[in-house]
C-alpha cells in the first residue's frame, strides 16, 4: 500500500503550506502596498510597472487628479463601502480594491478589460433573487436557488453548493451546470481536500477566485513587509496566489477557472459555493463577484432557519408516526400474531417509523423482516449480540461485533430495542457509501500521475472519503432512538399482559406514558409524583416534558376522562399528538388548538383536560394555557395564587375553541405546581375546599420542588380511589 502513503505526503505538504503568506499574487491584477498617511509604495508586485505604467512613488502618482480625490475620500471612510473604485489607468477602466493588513494599506488593481460582466439586467433582478432565497422553506430549495442564481450571475460552467459534516467531510448538496457536464450532485469529499488552515481562512475571507489555474505566479518585491520583516499577509487579498497543490487538484479535475464563496452559519464555516469553469479562463468582474458574495452572505443568514426547520420536521414526523403506530397497537387484539401483522402489513409499518432501509419485528419468537435486511438467520444473532454488548444503537455494527461481519451493505447501522424476553424490534441502515447515488461517472477527468508521485485528484478524493465512511451508516438520532423505545414499550405492555386483566395491561401501558426519569433541563428543577389508584382502576393521567428547539421547555399535565384500557390508549395517542403539536406550534395555546382537532377528527366523544406551562429557563418567563384543567398554582414570596387566566374548555367539548394564553414570571424561589384532580376533588368538603387546602399547604411548604411535593401529598392525603399526579417546577 504505497499509494495512500504518497497521498498522505501530498496532503501533508498542502496542510503545512503557509497559504496566507505566499509572497506572490495571481497575474490578473497588480498589487501595491503603501504606508499611511504618506501613501509611499513599499511593496509592489512584479507586474505593477507593466500594468500601471510606472513604479515607486506614492499611490497618488498612479491616479488622475479626479481619481486621487476619490481615493482620499475613500480612505477617510469605510473601505469596504468604497470598494471598488473604478479608476482610469492609461485611459482604461481598472477596479481598485483597498484593504488594510500588516500595518499597510494594500491596493489591488484589476483591469476591467477581460472580465465578464453580468450587466445591469442581472442587478435589476436582485430583488427577485433575494425574494426567492428568503422564500425557501427547506435547505434543498435554498441551495438550489443559490446554485442557479450564482451561476446566472457569474457564468461559470458549474456551480455547486457544498456542505461540511461534523468531521469536515464535504458533500455536494446542490448543483447547477452546463447541460453536457456530468453531475457532481451527491459527491463526497474527505476533510483533507480542504485543509484546516484553508477552512480558517475561508471563515474570515468570504470569496476566492482563480481566473486561470494555469497562471504564472507574480512575486512581490520586496518579498517581506518592511514594517514587520515577515512576508506580507495576503489573507484579505483578492489576488492572493494559491497553493500549487490546489492548482494541481484543479488541473486533475480539468478545471481551468474556479471561484468559491463561504457559507458561514453563526460564525462557523458551514459550506461553500464552489464554481468551476472548464472551457477556458473565466473572470467575472469584481462587482459581480461582490454580488455573488452577497448572495452567499444572505444564504448564510437564512441557514439557521431552514436547517432548524428541517430538523424540527424530522422530529414532528417521527412523533406523528409513533402516535399512529401506538394507536394501531392499541386497536389490535393482543396476540403476537395480530400485533406483528399490525406492525408489518398495514399501510404504516415499523419501517416507516424512522428513516431506515430495513426493519425486523420479533414477537413470541416469530421473526418478520421488512425492506432490506441481513438474512433472517443472521438478524437474530446480530441483534442479540448488539443488545448483549449494550449497543442498541450503532452506526458501525460490523466493526463492533463479529456477528456483523460482512453485513455492512445492509446493516452497518442497527437500532435494536428489546420488547420482552427474546423479542425485539430492529431497524437497519447500510453503510453510507451505498447511499451515494452517482448521476454519472465522476472519474472521467484526467488523473495525473506526476513524477512526484500521486497527488490529489477527484478519484483519489472519493477513494479517501470512502475509507472514512466504509462500514459506517448515518448515525441514529436521539429522537429516533426514543421513538423506537416508546414503540417497544407499548408492545411490551401489550404482549406482556395479554393473558392478564385489562386493567393490568392499561396499567403497564400507562406506566410507559409516565417518564421513568425526568429529563435534565439546565436551569430548571423539576419534581414529579404519580400515585396510582389502589383500586387497580387505572386512570387517564399523564405528564410530559418536551424540550423545544427554542431552548424553552413545555411542562404538560393531562387527564383523559374515563379509566382502564380505553382511557390509557387514548392517553397514549394524545400524549404523542401533543408532543408533535408542541414542537410545531407557536405556543401552548396553538398546540391545544391542534390537539383539539386531533380529538375531533380521530377520537370523537372523548374528553380530556390538559394544562401546559412553557418555561424559558433563562428568563423565568412562563406561558400557561389550559384546556379545562384545574388551574396551575404559582407560589412566590407574596404567597400562593391560582393562575386563573389562559383557560379554555376541555378538549373535545367544542370543535374550534381557540385557546388563549397567559404569561407570568418565575422569579427567585417561585414554584409552579401542576396537578391532576385526584389531588383535590375528593376532599371531604368538596373541590373548592380542596383547592384552598392545597394553596395553604404550598404556601407553608418548603421551596425545593421534591420536598414540596412530598409535603403537599402528606398534608392533603388524597384518598387512594383515584390516581394522583403532581408536578413541581422551580428555577435553579
Amino acid at each position: 500500500m504505497t499509494a495512500p502513503r504518497a497521498d498522505e505526503d501530498a496532503l501533508l505538504r498542502c496542510a503545512e503550506e503557509p497559504i496566507a503568506i505566499p509572497g506572490a499574487i495571481q497575474p490578473h491584477g497588480a498589487l501595491l502596498a503603501v504606508t499611511e498617511p504618506d501613501l509611499a509604495v513599499v511593496v509592489a508586485s512584479a507586474d505593477a510597472a507593466t500594468l500601471l505604467g510606472r513604479s515607486g512613488g506614492t499611490l497618488l502618482d498612479y491616479l488622475t487628479d479626479d481619481d486621487a480625490d476619490r481615493l482620499r475620500a475613500a480612505l477617510a471612510g469605510d473601505l469596504a463601502e468604497a470598494n471598488p473604485l473604478r479608476v482610469q489607468v492609461d485611459g482604461a477602466d481598472v477596479d481598485l480594491v483597498l484593504h488594510r493588513a500588516d500595518g499597510l494599506l494594500i491596493s489591488e488593481w484589476e483591469p476591467v478589460a477581460g472580465a465578464e460582466e453580468a450587466g445591469a439586467a442581472w442587478h435589476r433582478r436582485l430583488p427577485s433573487v433575494l425574494q426567492r432565497l428568503s422564500a425557501s422553506a427547506t435547505l434543498d430549495e435554498l441551495t438550489e436557488v443559490l446554485a442557479r442564481d450564482v451561476r446566472t450571475l457569474t457564468g461559470f460552467d458549474r456551480v455547486m453548493v457544498y456542505r461540511f459534516d461534523e468531521a469536515w467531510n464535504g458533500e455536494v448538496i446542490a448543483e447547477d451546470r452546463r447541460e453536457d457536464l456530468e453531475p457532481f450532485l451527491g459527491l463526497r469529499y474527505p476533510a483533507s481536500d480542504i485543509p484546516a488552515q484553508a477552512r480558517a481562512l475561508y471563515t474570515t475571507n468570504w470569496m476566492r477566485i482563480i481566473p486561470d489555474a494555469g497562471y504564472q505566479r507574480v512575486p512581490l518585491d520586496p518579498p517581506a513587509n518592511p514594517l514587520t520583516g515577515r512576508p506580507l499577509d495576503l489573507s484579505g487579498s483578492m489576488l492572493r496566489s494559491v497553493s500549487p497543490v490546489h492548482l494541481e487538484y484543479l488541473a486533475n479535475m480539468g478545471v481551468v477557472s474556479s471561484m468559491s464563496v463561504s457559507l458561514i452559519d453563526r460564525g462557523k464555516l458551514w459550506g461553500l459555493i464552489s464554481c468551476h469553469h472548464y472551457a477556458g479562463p473565466h473572470r467575472p468582474s469584481y462587482p459581480d463577484r461582490v454580488a455573488a458574495e452577497f448572495l452567499g452572505r444572505t444564504a448564510s443568514l437564512l441557514l439557521p432557519t431552514v436547517v432548524g426547520a428541517g430538523e424540527t420536521d424530522g422530529l414532528v414526523e417521527v412523533a406523528r408516526r409513533t402516535a399512529e403506530l401506538t394507536a394501531a397497537v392499541g386497536r389490535t387484539p393482543r396476540t403476537p400474531r395480530a400485533l406483528a401483522t399490525a406492525l408489518t402489513e398495514q399501510d404504516l409499518t415499523v419501517l416507516d417509523l424512522l428513516p431506515a432501509t430495513g426493519a425486523a419485528v420479533r414477537l413470541d419468537g416469530q421473526l418478520r423482516l421488512l425492506g432490506t435486511t441481513p438474512p433472517a438467520e443472521r438478524v437474530v444473532l446480530l441483534v442479540r449480540a448488539l443488545l448483549d454488548a449494550g449497543a442498541g444503537a450503532t452506526d458501525s455494527a460490523s466493526r463492533l461485533v463479529p456477528e456483523g461481519e460482512g453485513l455492512a451493505h445492509t446493516a452497518s447501522g442497527v437500532l435494536a430495542v428489546p420488547v420482552a424476553g427474546e423479542d425485539f424490534l430492529a431497524w437497519f441502515r447500510p453503510e453510507t457509501l451505498r447511499e451515494v447515488t452517482w448521476g454519472g461517472n465522476p472519474y472521467q477527468s484526467k488523473t495525473a500521475q506526476t513524477d512526484d508521485g500521486p497527488r490529489l485528484s477527484p478519484r483519489r478524493s472519493f477513494a479517501a472519503w470512502s475509507e472514512t465512511v466504509r462500514e459506517t451508516s448515518r448515525p441514529w438520532r436521539e429522537h429516533e432512538i426514543a421513538a423506537a423505545q416508546a414503540l417497544a414499550g407499548h408492545l411490551a405492555a401489550a404482549t406482556l399482559a395479554r393473558a392478564e386483566e385489562d386493567n393490568r395491561l392499561a396499567g403497564a401501558l400507562q406506566r410507559t406514558l409516565l417518564l421513568e426519569e425526568l429529563p435534565k433541563v439546565p436551569g430548571v428543577a423539576l419534581a414529579a409524583r404519580y400515585r396510582p389508584s389502589e383500586d387497580d382502576v387505572v386512570g387517564g393521567d399523564w405528564y410530559d416534558l418536551v424540550p423545544l428547539p427554542s431552548g424553552r421547555v413545555s411542562i404538560v399535565l393531562g387527564d383523559v376522562a374515563g379509566h382502564g384500557l380505553a382511557a390509557a390508549a387514548v392517553t397514549a395517542q394524545l400524549r404523542h399528538a401533543l408532543r408533535a403539536n408542541l414542537l410545531r406550534a407557536d405556543g401552548p395555546a396553538a398546540a391545544l388548538d391542534g390537539l383539539n382537532e386531533v380529538i375531533g377528527a380521530l377520537l370523537p366523544g372523548e374528553m380530556a383536560t390538559v394544562v401546559i406551562a412553557e418555561l424559558d429557563p433563562e428568563t423565568g418567563g412562563v406561558v400557561v394555557a389550559s384546556a379545562g384543567h384545574l388551574p396551575v398554582l404559582h407560589a412566590g414570596s407574596g404567597g400562593a395564587e391560582y393562575v386563573m387566566e389562559g383557560r379554555g374548555p376541555a378538549l373535545g367539548v367544542l370543535d374550534a375553541p381557540s385557546y388563549t394564553e397567559t404569561r407570568l414570571a418565575l422569579a427567585g424561589d417561585d414554584r409552579l405546581l401542576l396537578f391532576s384532580d385526584g389531588l383535590v376533588e375528593r376532599s371531604v368538603a368538596g373541590l373548592a375546599a380542596g383547592l384552598d387546602a392545597l394553596r395553604q399547604a404550598v404556601d407553608a411548604g418548603p421551596a425545593d420542588p421534591q420536598q414540596l411535593l412530598d409535603s403537599v401529598l402528606g398534608e392533603l392525603n388524597p384518598p387512594s380511589t383515584d390516581d394522583v399526579t403532581v408536578l413541581g417546577v422551580a428555577r435553579t
Partner: protein, 121 residues
C-alpha cells in the same frame, strides 16, 4: 354511597333527578336512563343535578354525550345545576362544559313547554 336516578317532571317536562355521586361507576346508569327519553316519543329532557353531590370527568363526558345525542335526534336537553351546588358547578365551569351542554341554574330558565312552542311558531 347512595346513588339513585329518579324519573320526575320539571317545568312540565320529563326529567331525571340524580342523587349521590355521578362518577366513573355511576355515569353509565345515567346514560342508560336518558337514552330512551332522548330517542323515544319525548323530544324534551331535563337532567336535574340539584341533589348530586359529586361530578368527575367521566360524569362530565356522559353529559357531553347526552348533549350530542339530543342534537342529533332534535331533542331539547337541559342540565339543571343550581348555583349553590358548588361541588358540581365548579367542575362544570372548569371544563367550560356549558359551551357544549345547555346548563341552566334554575327552572325559570327552562320555561314551560307551551311557552317554548309559542315562541317557536
Amino acid at each position: 354511597m347512595l346513588f339513585d336516578i329518579a324519573r320526575t317532571t320539571i317545568a312540565g317536562r320529563p326529567a331525571l333527578t340524580v342523587r349521590g355521586e355521578l362518577d366513573l361507576a355511576t355515569a353509565p346508569r345515567l346514560a342508560a336512563a336518558a337514552e330512551p327519553l332522548l330517542t323515544g316519543s319525548s323530544d324534551q329532557l331535563v337532567v336535574d343535578l340539584g341533589p348530586t353531590k359529586f361530578l368527575d370527568s367521566s360524569g362530565a363526558r356522559t353529559l357531553m354525550a347526552l348533549a350530542r345525542q339530543a342534537r342529533e335526534s332534535g331533542a331539547e336537553l337541559h342540565v339543571l345545576v343550581p348555583l349553590g351546588n358548588r361541588p358540581v358547578r365548579l367542575p362544570i365551569d372548569l371544563l367550560d362544559l356549558g359551551a357544549a351542554v345547555p346548563v341552566v341554574a334554575s327552572t325559570a330558565e327552562i320555561g314551560t313547554a307551551v311557552a317554548r312552542k309559542d315562541a317557536g311558531t
